[in-house]
């Protein structure tokens, strides 16, 4: 039969020589390889103490931004949810009451806003669709691994940007 490639090897069971039967040179060779790896650069890092450098356009965990006065920007218009190819986003809208102007930017706001991180494919289409510049995918945070499925459904408590209580600069 004609060979398809020249890469095939003929395997034959030969009688081993004395040095081969002693195994000692082979053990020394194997140890040499092991010791060589001690001095090589490590392929792993000590996550989460250390993190790898990510690209500038990395799309990580979502955040719901606040405006310059600390009011939530999201108006629950639903464009992120309709743009989402994985259908990971759900929300319910509510009407802003008198006296809540400092909390919500527009007269309508998201009462609940949930992103299912198990469904999310981090494509960033929600960010692109948002007309109010409210949702962004951060470049420095990831959705961490968890034990329970429920913990992957991120509500407003974990998505909304925390209020800046103290001046940092």
């Amino acid at each position: 039969m004609e060979l398809l490639s020249n890469r095939s090897k003929n395997v034959a069971q030969k009688e081993m020589t004395l040095s081969e039967r002693m195994y000692l040179p082979a053990i020394a060779q194997g140890l040499g390889i092991t010791i060589k790896h001690f001095f090589k650069k490590k392929a792993t890092i000590n996550y989460p103490e250390e993190t790898r450098q990510r690209s500038d356009v990395w799309r990580g965990l979502h955040v719901l931004k606040r405006d310059e006065n600390g009011a939530e920007r999201c108006t629950a218009c639903g464009l992120c949810a309709v743009a989402c190819p994985a259908e990971a986003i759900t929300m319910t809208a509510g009407e802003r009451k008198k006296g809540e102007e400092h909390l919500y930017r527009e007269e309508k706001y998201a009462v609940t806003y949930e992103v299912n991180m198990l469904r999310c494919i981090f494509c960033g289409l929600c960010e692109e669709a948002c007309p109010k510049a409210a949702i962004f995918l951060q470049d420095d945070k990831l959705a961490p691994a968890r034990y329970e499925r429920e913990e992957f459904i991120y509500g407003k408590d974990r998505l909304v940007e925390p209020l800046k209580t103290t001046e940092t600069k």
Partner: protein, 326 residues
């Protein structure tokens, strides 16, 4: 009968038909948009000017072109008339300008507005408008007004098409709302907070091409593209009872009249059907309502497009797609 040529397509219509209706007889992309004209309402039309067309030949007897662009919704056809709509550069430019005019005072609050997704002005500006505004002056603003317990008026969004006024005039017995003021100061008002309490007053919501008149029972409940439109009917003593239900899960979020492809209602419905019957058990459901594929309402709805119906037997009538006739 009069034979006219509309965008190079010949069509024969009854005498006295308007150019717009003749174009709608052809159907498809050549139909001029209309913001104020509404077939079921007598006397409507001629206000918004978005349906302007160029008449290049007045009639067979007098082939001179009409000197200016004419509003197709109120201009009757004449035998031998030649009309240009999408094929005429002037018409498209004029329409662009008119959209810009309509948007001068219209707020950019589509993310909040309940009409978004089924708004005529949104569609119109998407197709004919420019994405940027040249207007620098402050837009006119009004406080929102409650017209009775069910209807809310956002005067800031109104484009003064007068459709609701005609509806109140013709469908309901006594009109308690109209247009107050003139020109830039014109606004829809009820005389001294007079409540519209007629049985058919809810229809002003359906005829409104923008989000100026909205249903308070539907206010901020959900976005229209997350709801599922269903054709349904019930035995109603006051109206035909044929409606579209906008539901999510087992919940009926909103009830509207059935609208055709030009967003015109087929039959007006009463307030009991519209505002009080919000249970699935109140209705006999006929099947899903056919929504245009290009509409955002059909986004993420994965219904099987049934084109060749005879292959699949016993399908409800609502699944039959109207195919464009070649």
């Amino acid at each position: 009968m009069a034979k006219i040529t509309f965008d190079g397509i010949e069509v024969e219509v009854e005498d006295g038909t308007t150019i717009l209706q003749a174009a709608r007889k052809i159907g498809g992309d050549v139909v001029p948009p209309a913001m104020c004209f509404y077939t079921p309402l007598k006397g409507s039309g001629g206000k918004c000017r978005v349906c302007l067309v160029k008449v290049t030949q007045g009639s067979a007897r007098d082939p001179r072109p009409m000197p200016k662009l004419v509003a197709s919704c109120i201009t009757p056809v004449q035998d031998g008339m030649v009309v240009e709509n999408t094929t005429n550069e002037d018409v498209l430019n004029a329409r662009k300008g008119i959209v810009e005019m309509l948007l001068i005072n219209h707020p950019l609050d589509c993310p909040i507005c309940d009409q978004a997704g089924e708004c005529d002005l949104q569609n119109l500006s998407y197709e004919h408008g420019v994405s940027a505004t040249r207007y620098e002056e402050p837009r006119r603003t009004f406080d929102k007004v409650d017209l009775g317990p069910y209807i809310q008026l956002h005067m800031t969004r109104c484009i003064l098409c007068y459709r609701c006024v005609y509806t109140a005039d013709q469908i309901t017995d006594k009109r308690v709302h109209g247009v107050l003021g003139r020109g830039d100061a014109a606004e829809i008002g009820t005389y001294i907070e007079n409540v519209i309490d007629n049985d058919f007053s809810g229809n002003v919501i359906d005829v409104c091409p923008v989000g100026a008149l909205t249903d308070k029972t539907w206010r901020f409940k959900n976005r229209v593209w997350f709801t599922k439109p269903l054709n349904a009917h019930r035995d109603c003593p006051t109206c035909s009872g044929k409606v579209t239900l906008w539901s999510r899960g087992d919940q009926v979020l909103r009830v509207t009249a059935r609208k055709d492809e030009y967003a015109e209602v087929e039959e007006f419905i009463c307030n009991t059907c519209r505002f009080d019957k919000k249970e699935v058990s109140d209705w006999t459901i006929e099947g899903p309502r056919n929504i245009d594929r290009g509409s955002v309402i059909s986004a993420n709805h994965y219904e099987l497009p049934v084109v060749n119906v005879p292959i699949v037997p016993n399908l409800p009538k609502s699944t039959v797609k109207k195919m464009p006739t070649e």
